[in-house]
């Protein structure tokens, strides 16, 4: 009895033993072929980059695609390019560990690799992509607050068109984005930042190491354009960006924390209560100001 129970649990535990779990797999090698497959696949197609979220959703039957399209065959999507003007393009299949290992992503963009080093654990970061972290639209995605304060744009492509959206415009809520069924994320574009700009990231989690954020936040300080802003994750259905340019001179951390705590709409769940998340957001914002002043 025990062994047959154990065996049926074991069999059920794998992806392929459920009904309907019978999808096709394609790995196109050009962007055109990818777009065509996506056009044909329609609502039944799922995009696979790192797979670290997709396989969990497949296993949990949250999605039951007819076709899985692997983006990793398209060479141009794997590029992490630094352009002459200082802007950066992160291709759809660039992993968190590649962003962390890129020594040129420092100074103005330092919050991004720092946040990526907080995504899951090392082995997962070898697969997990920045584009996937955004596309999955989990409110606690660690790469999202830094990309928000850096004014990054998501490039969406179809067979015939391309459009670019800011992250707050792209992410509409919990696991909801404006990506159409025939669109894929080709890249994330991070604009050049003025000289002297710095960015910081902070995350609050239950245990150090492999854990999701209870609250996470990034701060950007741009002395040339006198811009100061904070983005907060995990505390609202979609990322919240708080513009604090009027505090640029005073750097009043208490006032900044107060405004950020007022801007979020946290929920209570298994990881933390809404009250606790609000308090921790205040703590994170004050600590980001400490980082800035240090």
């Amino acid at each position: 009895m025990v062994s047959s129970l154990a065996r049926s649990w074991y069999e059920a535990s794998f992806l392929s033993h459920g009904a309907n779990m019978n999808f096709a797999y394609e790995k196109p090698t050009t962007a055109q072929a990818l777009s065509r497959l996506l056009e044909q696949g329609g609502a039944g197609a799922s995009l696979l980059a790192g797979g670290t979220d997709l396989l969990v959703q497949l296993r949990g039957r949250l999605i039951e695609p007819k076709l899985v399209i692997d983006l990793k065959g398209v060479e141009e999507l794997s590029r992490l390019d630094h352009h002459d003007d200082g802007s950066v393009t992160i291709g759809a299949t660039v992993t968190a560990n590649r962003v962390i290992d890129d020594k040129r992503l420092s100074g103005a963009m330092a919050a991004l690799p720092h946040a990526c080093s907080h995504i899951a654990a090392f082995a997962i970061r070898n697969r997990a992509t920045i584009a996937g972290n955004i596309a999955n639209a989990s409110p606690c995605a660690d790469s999202v607050p830094p990309l928000c304060v850096l004014d990054a744009e998501v490039e969406l492509r179809t067979t015939t068109a391309t459009r670019r959206l800011s992250l707050p415009a792209f992410i509409r809520g919990v696991r909801a984005t404006v990506r159409a069924k025939n669109e894929y994320i080709a890249a994330i574009h991070v604009p050049a930042q003025p000289k002297g700009t710095r960015s910081f990231f902070r995350k609050h989690q239950r245990v150090r190491g492999h854990d999701l954020a209870l609250a996470n936040a990034a701060l950007l300080h741009d002395p040339e354009r006198k811009r100061l802003r904070v983005a907060i994750g995990s505390c609202s259905p979609a990322p919240v960006v708080v513009v604090l340019d009027d505090l640029f001179e005073s750097l009043d951390a208490q006032e900044a924390a107060r405004r950020c705590m007022a801007a979020i709409i946290p929920i209570s769940d298994v990881r933390a209560s809404a009250e606790y998340r609000t308090d921790m957001t205040g703590v994170l914002v004050r600590r980001l100001f400490d980082d800035l002043k240090a």
Binding site: F14, L15, Y25, L55, R59, V68, A121, A123, R127, G209
Partner: protein
């Protein structure tokens, strides 16, 4: 849909025909019968299925088998050379770093990957390196001791 794939695992080439929905973990365990790689959670929380995929540590439960077509893999079955245990395996035994043993294959592969990247890690780097591998028996102290000793001996042995 089923697909023909070829993988090289521990220097052995395998051909197999698998559904697209098979994970790499399922390919290793149920098709190739390499059962040293364990399934703990199956959703990337516990790290018990960590293997080396084209030189990079991955969780085999979060990779499709078809994604591994043409890949080179290393699993715990490739750790010892015949009867000769690796330095990490001997150190794990010496420090009693395995109790129930379920996390041990992945822990050894993770430690090996860590030491290739950072030959002389600090304790902090060892702890960060194994953060994705859960062990419910040892409390990690013995595992960190085992990895630290291998790193120290390799340092002493060099030059």
């Amino acid at each position: 849909m089923e697909y023909d794939i070829e993988v090289t695992v521990n220097d052995v080439r395998y051909k197999a025909r698998i559904p697209a929905s098979f994970t790499l973990l399922q390919l290793l365990r149920d098709v190739l019968h390499l059962t040293g790689t364990k399934e703990g959670c199956g959703i990337g929380e516990c790290g018990a299925c960590s293997v080396v995929f084209n030189g990079e540590l991955v969780n085999a439960c979060l990779v499709l088998g078809v994604e591994a077509n043409g890949a080179t893999l290393r699993t715990i079955e490739g750790e010892a050379k015949g009867e000769q245990l690796s330095d990490l395996q001997r150190s794990f035994i010496k420090h009693h770093a395995a109790q129930c043993g379920f996390c041990t294959p992945a822990m050894i592969l993770t430690a090996g990957d860590l030491l290739r990247r950072i030959p002389t890690p600090t304790d902090e780097q060892i702890i960060e390196g194994i953060a994705g591998n859960l062990c419910r028996c040892t409390g990690y102290e013995a595992i960190v001791d085992a990895i630290r000793e291998v790193a120290r001996d390799a340092k002493g042995g060099a030059k």
